[in-house]
C-alpha cells in the first residue's frame, strides 16, 4: 500500500487573522519537499496546523494521511498515525526524563504492533542508545529532563533523535537549521537523511536558507508567500531564490 500525505486547499486562521489562503501539496514516502518563503508567509502555521495545534483554526480545505482525515484527529492521534513535527523551538519540560518520555511516545506510536515491541525497559534503552550513537548524540542527554538546559544545537539534535525513534511516515521539519553553525547543520542533515532512508519518510522541510538543501537534496521546492504557494519547482528554484529573493511576489 502506498502512503500519501494530501493537503488540499488548506485555509487557516489564528486570532481572526487569515494566515493560510489555500495551500495544496501532495507528499509521497521518501520525498523531500522544501518549503521556502519570507518571514510571516505562513510556513510555521502550516507546520502547526498539520500537527493539530489548538490555536490554529482550519476554515476550509482537507488534509489526509493515507485514507484518514487528519483534521478531525487530536495531535496525539496524528502522531500515532505516523506524523512528526520537529519544532523550531523545542519546549523545555523539566524533570521529564528524555528516555522515559521517549519510551512512552514509542509505545503510543506502535501500540498493538507485535513486531515493534521491546521485551523490557532495558531493551528499549539499548535501542535508544544505539540510535543516539548513530546520530552522534551524547547519551548523557537521554538521562536529563526533556530539553532542560539543552543548548540550541542539542535541542535540534534531540528532535532528530525523536524522529528516529518514532519512525514517522511523514515529517515536518520546521527550520531545523535555524541557529545552528555549519558543523551542526551538517550533523543534523546527516541524521535527517539517515531517517528518510531508513523509514522512507516523506518530508516537508521548512527553511529560510539554501545551506541545508546543499546536504539534503529536495525533490520539490515550493515558495509560500502570504499564505499561498506562489511557485513550485525542482532544486534549481533554490538557486533562483538565492539570487533574486522573494521580491517578485510581494
Amino acid at each position: 500500500m502506498s502512503s500519501v500525505l494530501n493537503i488540499k486547499d488548506l485555509q487557516v486562521k489564528i486570532d481572526q487573522k487569515q494566515i493560510l489562503q489555500g495551500i495544496s501539496l501532495t507528499v509521497k514516502p521518501g520525498e523531500v519537499h522544501a518549503i521556502m518563503g519570507p518571514n510571516g508567509s505562513g510556513k510555521s502555521t502550516l507546520a502547526y496546523t498539520l500537527t493539530g495545534h489548538p490555536a490554529y483554526k482550519v476554515t476550509q480545505g482537507e488534509v489526509k494521511l493515507d485514507k484518514n482525515d487528519l483534521l478531525v484527529m487530536s495531535p496525539d492521534e496524528r502522531a500515532q498515525a505516523g506524523l512528526f513535527l520537529a519544532f523550531q523551538h523545542p519546549t523545555e519540560i523539566p524533570g521529564v526524563k528524555v528516555q522515559n518520555f521517549l519510551r512512552q511516545a514509542y509505545r503510543a506510536r506502535f501500540e498493538g504492533q507485535k513486531t515493534k515491541q521491546f521485551g523490557s525497559v532495558l531493551a528499549f534503552r539499548k535501542h535508544l542508545e544505539k540510535l543516539a550513537q548513530e546520530l552522534q548524540i551524547n547519551p548523557e542527554l537521554l538521562k536529563r529532563g526533556l530539553n532542560e538546559g539543552f543548548s540550541g544545537g542539542e535541542k535540534k539534535r534531540l528532535e532528530i533523535l525523536q524522529m528516529a525513534v518514532l519512525e514517522p511516515k511523514f515529517a515536518i521539519l520546521d527550520e531545523i537549521d535555524s541557529g545552528l553553525d555549519i558543523d551542526a547543520i551538517k550533523a543534523v542533515a546527516t541524521g535527517i537523511k539517515r531517517n528518510i532512508k531508513k523509514y522512507n519518510t516523506g518530508v516537508l522541510l521548512i527553511t529560510h536558507y539554501q545551506r541545508i538543501l546543499d546536504y539534503i537534496k529536495p525533490n520539490f521546492v515550493h515558495v509560500i508567500v502570504e499564505g499561498k504557494v506562489v511557485e513550485s519547482g525542482d532544486k534549481n528554484l533554490v538557486k533562483k531564490l538565492e539570487a533574486d529573493g522573494y521580491q517578485k511576489w510581494s
Partner: protein
C-alpha cells in the same frame, strides 16, 4: 529478607487511623486539667512530665489562635477528644471506611488485607514480627527505636534533658497543646558513629502502642552517627478525629547526619498543624523532606537551628493542594554559628481551586559570618481557580553572608502539552508527566518504593482526586 523487601512494608503508615468506636479508653471531648492528669496517670508518667503538661496547658490557654496561615476559625477545641487509647484488637467495620479511600487503596494496588489495616479496621498481625527482627539488628548497634512512652520509661534522663528543648511549649499555641496532651510518637537514639543504613520507618513500631493525633517524637543522633527516619504513607490515612498536631524534636550532634522524611496524606477533613525542628551542631547535617498531599489545612514549617560551626540544613518541601485544601508550608532556617549553610527548596502544586502557600523564615545571627542560604520556591498552577502565595521573611544581622531567593510560578503551558501530544502522548498522560516532572528532583530523595507510590498517587490525584 524482611528488611530488604521494603516495597510492601512501605505502604503501611503511622497508626493514626482508628475509628473512635473501639477504644479502650476515650477521654470526653474538651480539655481540662483533669483530662491532662488522667492522661498522665494512665501512662504512669513521672511527676515532672505531668508538671510540664500542666504548664503547657496554661501557655496554650494564654496564647491566641494564630491570625496568619490557614483559616482556623472552624476549629473548635471543645469538640476534640484529647486522648484515645486503642484496644489490643481493633474490631471496626470495613463499611465505615469512605468509598473514596477504598478507591485509592485499589488504585495503589494494595491488597484488601492491607487495606483494612491502613483503614484502621484491623491490627497488623505481622508488625510485631517485622519490628522484632529489625529491633534485633538495631539492638546490635545500640540503636534505640521505641515509642515515646517506652522512651520516657527507659531513658527518663535523656527525655528530661531534651524534651521541649528545641520546640518549647511556648513556641506556639499548638506546640503548647501538644506538650499538654501528647501521646504516642517515637523515641530514637543513635549512638556515636553508628550509620543506620536502612531507613527507620515509623510504621514498624506503631500498632501495639498507637500514636495519637498529638504524637511527640524525639530523635537524638549522637556524634558522627547517621540516620534516615520516615513517617507516613502514600495511602490516605483515615481518622475520625479532625485535629492532628504533632511535635518533632531532633538533635544532631557533631558530625552527625539526619534525614527526616514525612509523607503526609491525611484524609481531607483534618487540620494538620505540626511543629518540627532540629538542633544541629558543628559539621552536622539535617535534612527535612516533607511531602504534604492530604489534610484539609496544613501549617508546617520544618526548621533547624544551625548552632555549630559548619552545620548544614536542608528543607525539601512538596505540597499538593486540591479542592478545599490549603497547604501552608515552608521552612525556618536559623543560623547562629559561622560557616553554616542552608537550602530550602519548596515546590507546590495547586489544582481545582486549592491553595498552596510558602512561608519561610531565614534568620542569620550576628555570629553567623560566612554563612549561606538559598531559597528556591516553585509553584505550579493547574487551573485559573487555584492559588499560590509566597511569604518569605529574611532577618540578617551579619554582613558577611549570602542569602539568595528564587521564586517562580508557572502554569501547565499549552506549549508543553502540545509538545508532548505531538509525540503521540495523550493529553491526560501529558499533564501527569509534567506534574511528576515538576517534583521529580524532590521525589528522588525518597526511597524507591515511596517514590513509585508517590508518582502513582500524583497520577491518581490528577485524575480527579480522592475527595
Amino acid at each position: 529478607m524482611v528488611i530488604k523487601n521494603g516495597a510492601n512494608m512501605a505502604r503501611y503508615k503511622h497508626g493514626d487511623s482508628f475509628s473512635t468506636d473501639s477504644y479502650k479508653y476515650i477521654s470526653k471531648p474538651g480539655l481540662s486539667k483533669k483530662v491532662i492528669k488522667e492522661i498522665s496517670a494512665i501512662k504512669n508518667e513521672p511527676k515532672w512530665m505531668l508538671e510540664k503538661r500542666l504548664q503547657a496547658y496554661e501557655i496554650f490557654k494564654s496564647k491566641p489562635m494564630p491570625s496568619w496561615g490557614v483559616d482556623l476559625s472552624e476549629l473548635n477545641f471543645d469538640q476534640i477528644r484529647y486522648y484515645l487509647r486503642p484496644t489490643d484488637h481493633q474490631v471496626s467495620s470495613w463499611q465505615d471506611v469512605p468509598p473514596e479511600v477504598k478507591a485509592t487503596f485499589d488504585r495503589l494496588g494494595i491488597p484488601e488485607a492491607e487495606q483494612k489495616i491502613l483503614a484502621g479496621v484491623t491490627t497488623q498481625l505481622d508488625s510485631e514480627v517485622i519490628y522484632g527482627s529489625l529491633k534485633n539488628v538495631w539492638a546490635k548497634y545500640g540503636v534505640e527505636f521505641l515509642s515515646m512512652d517506652e522512651g520516657l520509661a527507659k531513658h527518663a534522663d535523656l527525655v528530661k534533658e531534651y524534651f521541649g528543648k528545641v520546640v518549647p511549649a511556648g513556641d506556639n499555641k499548638f506546640s503548647a497543646l501538644n506538650t499538654a496532651v501528647w501521646s504516642g510518637g517515637s523515641f530514637v537514639y543513635v549512638p556515636p558513629g553508628v550509620d543506620v543504613k536502612l531507613p527507620l520507618q515509623a510504621y514498624f513500631r506503631i500498632n501495639a502502642k498507637s500514636s495519637g493525633q498529638f504524637e511527640r517524637t524525639l530523635i537524638i543522633v549522637d556524634e558522627g552517627a547517621k540516620i534516615h527516619y520516615i513517617e507516613g504513607c502514600t495511602a490516605p490515612q483515615f481518622s475520625s478525629s479532625s485535629l492532628h498536631s504533632g511535635v518533632i524534636e531532633i538533635f544532631v550532634k557533631k558530625g552527625a547526619r539526619c534525614q527526616y522524611t514525612t509523607v503526609q496524606n491525611w484524609y481531607k477533613n483534618i487540620y494538620n498543624l505540626v511543629t518540627q525542628r532540629a538542633f544541629v551542631e558543628e559539621e552536622a547535617e539535617m535534612i527535612w523532606a516533607d511531602f504534604n498531599m492530604g489534610s484539609k489545612k496544613t501549617m508546617k514549617y520544618p526548621g533547624f537551628v544551625l548552632a555549630g560551626k559548619g552545620a548544614k540544613g536542608e528543607v525539601l518541601s512538596m505540597s499538593l493542594a486540591g479542592s478545599g485544601q490549603h497547604q501552608d508550608t515552608g521552612a525556618k532556617a536559623i543560623h547562629l554559628a559561622p560557616h553554616t549553610s542552608s537550602t530550602i527548596v519548596s515546590k507546590s502544586i495547586s489544582k481545582d481551586g486549592g491553595r498552596a502557600s510558602y512561608r519561610g523564615l531565614v534568620s542569620v545571627g550576628p555570629k553567623a559570618h560566612h554563612s549561606k542560604n538559598t531559597v528556591v520556591c516553585d509553584a505550579l498552577l493547574l487551573d485559573p481557580q487555584s492559588r499560590s502565595d509566597t511569604y518569605p521573611v529574611d532577618k540578617v544581622f551579619n554582613s558577611q553572608v549570602e542569602v539568595q531567593h528564587e521564586a517562580t510560578i508557572s502554569k501547565i503551558g499549552d506549549d508543553q502539552l502540545f509538545y508532548l501530544m505531538s509525540r503521540g502522548i495523550t493529553q491526560k498522560t501529558a499533564r501527569k508527566m509534567i506534574v511528576n516532572g515538576f517534583i521529580e528532583d524532590l521525589v528522588r530523595k525518597l526511597p524507591l518504593e515511596y517514590a513509585v507510590e508517590m508518582n502513582d498517587l500524583i497520577d491518581h490525584e490528577m485524575e480527579g482526586g480522592i475527595g
